[in-house]
């Protein structure tokens, strides 16, 4: 307490504090405090009036006790009394106590506000400042409500003192930050801008802070500040260090103000006015020039102040990104800092260079520092600096230096800090892929990566290498050879085994010619790793083995032996056991041809955004990976980037599929409407039942399909992208998707099942029908992890269906959370016979992109069938009654499915009719009868199905009382067999 020695000092307080400091133990301290509190309480009891001095003293003591960590529950009133004192010290202590101790919901707040109001209204600048400081320190909503209107008035009033203006600006800033809605915008805003012209530098500094904060919300209101800021900045920058006297800090004129002005300018694009712009550029150049001058002082404060301005200038230059000359100069300046002995400067230089690297003007300039940066990566002692160096290398990488950078990063990886290893691995993987000219180099790099930092190589990285190797047949042989060599190391990482297993299984034949890597050698090499691996890897290896059987028939016996071993066949892990059993059976049952078909080489993977890049973005947060992805407008990178895109000659999939996928990745407005017929062209063996007819979906598929994290496209997974040209009216729906009919057919004979599925959405159906009424439950499942917005499924009746079928739908929630399912209930009433099914239109927004989908609702006329049992003669009697030619519909068609009597029977029952035995003289034939129930009328229906096993043909005859119904039913049913 320096004030104590003065005459004005409070002796009692000084004694008390020294007593506390001399206490030997905590207990003694508490005792002393209790004693003092009791003393103050007895003084505050109110019997005798206290003079201002003792009040101040005791309030000070209370404050001290509070700051020591004890609760204070009295004395507030005395503090508020101090506010109305005329002595500065008393007022000051009162305000101090209040800003420290009074909470906003206190009853005293009105008294306090009143006192503050009085002080604000007084003409005494000191008191006004005290009041403003108190408002800013408390900064509560109540304070804001009470004073938000007054402060701008004080701020712009012509007769306010400079110091008051300064306090008012800062107080307003604080209130604005605490509750922006309270600060009224108005005509004062224009006048605040003119404070930038104020004589007093303190006012200008405070005003810049306020304007920077305000203009973030309403940039247009404060646009005029640009020219003012520029002129102010130029005046400071060009001033001699002695001009600004009080505001010169170690020979640097007004460093804080300069930095703030430069920050303010970063809120706006480059000034349009040429004069202003010229002046600004001149300023920036001056700053850059000054950086070259020898320092005026050796003190660290001098260089700190200077560098602060310089870095802020460089950020402004980067922000404008339009002055090639300045960008290059900035880059050179940063280059000097890269070798500075101050670690903080090196860090900042690396960080700023990262942003510079993404600018087209300075990219080349940044590249010249590559050696320094690489050196920094190797020699820096601080891990955060090394991390920045790695970031910068990543940002400055392009085709010309990719090999060097990747190899340096790989080398660094061996000694890298654990915290940043995974990130570096991802970066290396991306760079290697992105700038690979020669894919053998890419394969080498990734394998090296796995060797060096196997634990940090995420799934995505090795999935990606497999995808690329599968898609590029020029590199397959090399890849097989390299992994084979890599696997020969006595200890290799499990990820290496995975990659090796997959590649050898696919392309092992390419190196089988060499006796050193003959099939048995390959197999024994892989199998030697088998027992050391985790279940997932072992499962993959089992798939490799079965592929070996196909590739190298000579290994069949050995491999079967392995599969047959108890450790596989009776493995505790279900996955391994199932694979072993199925592969063993497959290898022994299936013929070579079948094997060759089933175990065909994997087809190329569809192209999409590299999953690694997505992972890096996720890891670094949005925008971090942008230096490479969107920041650079490098036309040459496109073909390399697209180098992944299969050229028609190398890829068996027809190109429309690639187009189609491109379409999906692109934002909707850019989508070319090329999709209509392309969907069925997209053949994916994973889901094609033809590929493995005997096995059904084996775990292999499931496992291999994991290679593509965003689920493989099934042939049906075609999303009808909303054509941008289409009218976005809510009632207007697109045509049903091409497979809608096919989907519908699945439901002719059954009521429950999955109606539709793609990678976003699954629609399940459950329905029941009785007489002419039906109820259908639709289940919409969100397969993604992202919420669907504006989710709205609607049922539409095309044509005159409205009069034939009544469908009531219940609304569903507009949001479907990721992974969630919503249910919609449809009540259906059949009014008349109808031919076309109603349409179901599903619209929603997925990740901001609108999605729409139109399907046929599985409601067909046969759903309202009522089975009727009748005797043989009744049947023939009715059959004869319906003998008019238009009442009969007949179709002779080839069987699409194996002719199985039981299956046929089940289908007919599912269709809805009753099956009549002993009616037809030929027991092979099926005869059925039923009545279609509608609200308006009933339609009797008789049917006869005559299978011909030899010719694999059916003859289907239907007789109903209504001609269109006969034909329609006949068509519906014919497709089922």
């Amino acid at each position: 307490m320096p004030a104590v020695s003065k005459g004005d000092g409070m002796r009692g307080l000084a004694v008390f504090i020294s007593d506390i400091r001399n206490c030997k133990s905590k207990e003694a301290e508490i005792k002393r405090i209790n004693k003092e509190l009791a003393n103050i309480r007895s003084k505050f009891k109110g019997d005798k009036a206290l003079d201002g001095y003792s009040k101040k003293k005791y309030v000070c003591k209370l404050l001290f006790i509070f700051l020591l960590g004890h609760d204070i529950d009295f004395g507030h009133m005395e503090a508020v009394n101090l506010l109305s004192s005329n002595k500065y010290t008393e007022k000051q202590i009162g305000y101090l106590f209040i800003s420290v101790l009074v909470n906003s919901n206190s009853e005293l707040i009105r008294l306090i506000n009143n006192a503050i109001k009085n002080d604000l209204a007084s003409r005494n600048p000191t008191f006004m400042c005290l009041a403003l400081h108190c408002i800013a320190n408390v900064g509560s909503r109540e304070m804001g409500e009470a004073f938000a209107a007054d402060i701008p008035r004080i701020l712009v009033a012509g007769d306010s003192m400079d110091s008051v203006k300064q306090s008012a600006a800062l107080c307003l800033l604080r209130l604005y930050k605490a509750s922006p809605d309270l600060v009224p915008m108005g005509e004062w805003t224009a006048r605040v801008v003119h404070l930038l012209n104020d004589q007093h530098m303190g006012v200008v500094t405070a005003a810049v802070s306020l304007i920077t904060c305000l203009c973030k919300k309403n940039p247009d209101d404060f646009k005029t500040c640009i020219s003012l800021a520029v002129s102010r900045l130029s005046r400071i920058v060009s001033s001699a260090s002695t001009d600004l006297q009080d505001y010169t800090y170690y020979f640097v004129p007004a460093p804080w103000l300069s930095v703030k002005l430069l920050r303010l300018l970063q809120c706006y694009p480059p000034p349009e006015d040429a004069a202003v712009k010229g002046r600004l550029v001149e300023c920036l150049e001056t700053v850059l020039n000054k950086a070259q001058e020898p320092p005026k002082s050796k003190k660290v404060q001098h260089s700190n102040a200077k560098n602060a301005i310089l870095f802020e200038t460089i950020s402004l230059i980067i922000h404008y990104d339009s002055e090639p000359n300045l960008l290059v100069r900035a880059c050179n300046q940063l280059g000097q800092f890269l070798q500075h002995r101050e670690t903080n400067l090196r860090y900042l230089a690396l960080e700023s260079m990262c942003t510079l690297a993404s600018s087209e003007f300075s990219h080349e300039a940044v590249k010249t520092h590559i050696d320094t940066v690489i050196n920094a990566l190797k020699t820096e002692r601080d891990v955060s600096v090394r991390q920045r160096a790695a970031d910068l290398l990543y940002a400055m990488c392009d085709r010309s230096n990719a090999k060097q950078i990747v190899s340096e990063m790989l080398r660094y990886l061996e000694t890298a800090d654990y915290a940043i290893r995974e990130e570096i691995v991802l970066k290396v993987a991306i760079l290697a892929e992105k700038y690979a000219v020669d894919y053998s180099w890419y394969v080498d790099t990734i394998l090296n990566l796995i060797r060096i930092a196997g634990d940090y190589v995420s799934e995505e990285v090795w999935y990606r290498v497999l995808q690329i190797v599968t898609n590029r047949d020029d590199v397959q042989g090399y890849a097989a050879k390299t992994v084979f060599e890599a696997l020969q190391a006595p200890a290799c990482h499990e990820n290496m085994v995975k990659v090796g297993g997959y590649i050898l299984g696919e392309f092992g034949n390419l190196i089988a010619g060499d006796p050193r890597s003959s099939p048995p050698v390959q197999f024994s090499l892989l199998h030697s790793k088998f027992h050391l691996c985790s279940v997932a890897t072992r499962a993959l290896l089992l798939s490799t083995y079965i592929k070996f059987i196909n590739l190298f028939p000579e290994t069949k016996a050995t491999i079967q032996g392995v599969l047959r071993a108890g450790s596989q066949l009776r493995n505790a892990d279900v996955e391994l056991q199932q694979r072993a059993v199925e592969y063993l059976t497959l290898s022994s049952v299936a013929s070579t041809d079948v094997l060759a078909t089933v175990l065909e080489e994997m087809p190329p993977f569809p192209e999409r955004e590299s999953s690694i890049l997505a992972k890096l973005k996720r890891k670094k947060g949005p925008g971090a990976g942008s230096a490479l992805d969107d920041g650079r407008r490098d036309p040459s990178s496109n073909d390399i980037n697209g180098g992944m895109e299969p050229t028609p000659s190398t890829v068996s999939t027809p190109s429309p599929s690639a187009d189609l996928l491109g379409l999906r990745a692109a934002p909707p407005p850019a989508a070319p409407p090329a999709s209509a017929g392309a969907g069925n062209l997209l053949v994916d063996v994973f889901d094609g039942p033809a590929a493995q007819p005997s096995l059904g979906p084996t775990p292999e598929e499931a496992f291999l399909s994991e290679l593509e994290p965003p689920a493989p496209e099934s042939p049906m997974a075609l999303l009808a992208d909303p054509a941008p040209a289409a009218d976005p009216g809510p009632e207007d729906i697109g045509p049903p998707i091409p497979e809608a009919d096919e989907l519908l057919n699945k439901f002719v004979c059954k009521n429950n099942g999955v109606l539709f599925e793609n990678q976003l959405l699954q629609i399940g159906v459950k329905s029941e029908f009785r007489q002419n009424l039906g109820r259908m439950y639709l289940f919409y499942g969100n397969k993604t992890s992202v919420q669907f917005q504006n989710f709205s499924p609607t049922v539409v009746h095309p044509g005159d269906l409205q009069t034939q079928l009544a469908v009531q739908t219940k609304r569903v929630a507009a949001q479907v959370d990721g992974g969630a399912q919503v249910q919609q209930v449809l009540n259906i009433e059949c009014l008349r016979d109808f031919l076309t099914p109603p349409l179901l239109s599903v619209r929603f927004r997925y990740g901001g992109a609108p999605q729409a989908l139109t399907l046929k609702l599985p409601v067909t006329i046969n759903k309202f069938f009522q089975p009727t049992e009748m005797a043989a003669q009744d049947f023939f009697q009715r059959w004869k009654q319906l003998s008019l030619p238009q009442q009969e519909a007949q179709k002779i068609f080839k069987a699409n499915h194996p002719m199985d009597a039981e299956v046929t029977k089940a289908k007919l029952l599912g269709f809805g009719s009753a099956l009549l035995d002993n009616v037809d003289p030929n027991p092979e034939n099926f005869v059925g009868a039923g009545i279609i129930q509608t609200k308006a009328l009933q339609v009797g229906c008789l049917l006869r199905l005559e299978p011909n096993a030899q010719a694999q043909m059916y003859r289907l005859t239907l007789r109903t009382s209504k001609e269109p119904v006969s034909r329609h039913l006949c068509e519906l049913l014919a497709q089922q067999f």
């Binding site: 133990s25 509190l37 309480r41 529950d73 009295f74």
Partner: protein
């Protein structure tokens, strides 16, 4: 086992640091200081676990003794050792204070080497230690071989706590029964919890290797004997007491206690604690406190407390002190009492009423007016209990020493020649009444 032992002063500076095992590093010293001595919240638990290391501490005035271990030790053993350590230090240089410890630090290290070996407690009997650890330093040239071997045989022998060849002209022994009564009573006078913890401390000046036998009115023993003589049980039935649990000095033959429940031993020379016990039944509460608190408005409180002594009128209680807590916003107190002196102590937030002496079956009263300062705190005063301190010349548990027989077969003095003194002191432990 104990990994290390540290002694700190009140500031947390290390006075003594002795590490016995490698698993305790130097940083353990700081860990205890930071987390216990300088902890923001006062640490109440005597055992603190910091980073898989256990710290057991006891505090003697301003001095902290902390035993440190990384193993799962018996905490009771560690505390027993720490208390013993305090006793040993007190026996060597009196009061345990920072200055005494600083002055005797060579001695303390020497003691620590002797009583703790690789973390295992060793012989900590002061009498035995004093034979070979002396404050003057051992002058080995003056010590004969015989003496040395005698020390060795004693320390390693069966009776490590007593050396042979002790001779007194007057065979004398003092027996103190020290008890502390703990009580928590409701405002209505209902006993919520009460127990007595007592110690029997013996100071013996006996020649040779005397065999002693101690008898008291333990219920089990009395009943056992009473089986033979029926009418004596009816007489002494009321006077026997039920002991909940007891622990003995190492000299007591536990096997004999287990089988016959007789306490026989060869006492160490000088003062030692023969046994410790605890009773919870039929406790004589020496004082009754009747509180009366009335809140008169927001700014005034009236308190009236009556104490009644509840023992034989011929006995005198001493050092009576009643502590009446006052609210935290007390701004002034007026006290009127008929007997003794009463004062409001602001530093302790309490009215302290002291009475020097008070006979049994008497009553005394204090009344106080407390003025309060209105606060903006809505918290109600928690009304802590009124506590009391006193000393009475009887054992509140009802324990009586029936006999202490001394046999020394080798030297010819008999039980009758020994002069015996018995004293009972009952003190208050935590003796509280809610108000």
């Amino acid at each position: 086992m104990i990994g290390g032992l540290f002694i700190y002063n009140h500031k947390g500076e290390v006075l003594i640091s002795r590490v016995y095992r490698d698993d305790i590093g130097r940083n353990a010293v700081d860990a205890f200081r930071v987390n216990v001595i300088h902890a923001r919240q006062q640490v109440r638990s005597p055992v603190t676990n910091i980073a898989r290391t256990s710290f057991f501490h006891v505090k003697r005035s301003n001095i902290w003794l902390a035993a440190v271990t990384k193993q799962n030790v018996n905490a009771a053993m560690v505390f027993e050792f720490l208390y013993k350590m305090c006793d040993v230090m007190a026996a060597y240089f009196g009061k345990i204070s920072e200055e005494n410890i600083k002055n005797n630090f060579v001695l303390i290290y020497e003691l620590l080497d002797e009583i703790l070996d690789f973390g295992y407690p060793q012989n900590s009997e002061t009498g035995a230690l004093k034979t070979f650890i002396t404050q003057q330093g051992i002058k080995s040239q003056h010590q004969t071989k015989e003496e040395q071997s005698q020390i060795t045989s004693q320390v390693t022998g069966q009776i490590g706590w007593r050396r042979e060849g002790i001779k007194y002209r007057r065979n004398e022994l003092f027996l103190d029964v020290l008890e502390s009564v703990n009580l928590l009573m409701s405002p209505q006078g209902q006993v919520l919890s009460a127990h007595v913890s007592g110690r029997v401390v013996m100071k013996s000046y006996l020649s040779g290797m005397p065999e002693c036998k101690f008898g008291m009115n333990d219920k089990i023993v009395i009943e056992k004997q009473g089986k033979g003589i029926a009418d004596e049980t009816s007489k002494s039935g009321k006077q026997s007491i039920a002991i909940d649990d007891c622990t003995f000095h190492q000299c007591v033959r536990l096997s004999k206690f287990d089988s016959e429940r007789s306490i026989s031993f060869i006492p160490p020379d000088g003062e030692f604690e023969l046994m410790r016990y605890r009773t919870t039944k039929d406790i004589i509460l020496p004082f009754r406190v009747i509180p009366l608190v009335r809140e008169v408005g927001r700014t005034k409180l009236e308190v009236k407390v009556v104490i009644k002594s509840n023992f034989k009128p011929s006995l005198l209680a001493q050092k009576i002190e009643v502590r009446i807590p006052t609210p935290l916003n007390t701004s002034g107190v007026q006290v009127i009492c008929m007997k003794g002196k009463a004062k409001y102590k602001a530093s302790e937030n309490a009215i302290v009423w002291k009475i020097k002496r008070m006979a049994g079956m008497k009553e005394s009263q204090i009344s106080a007016e407390i003025e309060l300062l209105p606060t903006n705190d809505k918290k109600k005063w928690a009304r802590p209990p009124i506590s009391m301190n006193f000393e009475v010349p009887f054992a509140p548990s009802g324990l009586k020493v029936r006999y202490l027989k001394v046999f020394e077969p080798k030297l010819n003095y008999s039980d009758h020649d020994v002069i015996k003194w018995v004293r009972y002191i009952g003190r208050s432990g935590i003796y509280e009444t809610r108000c």
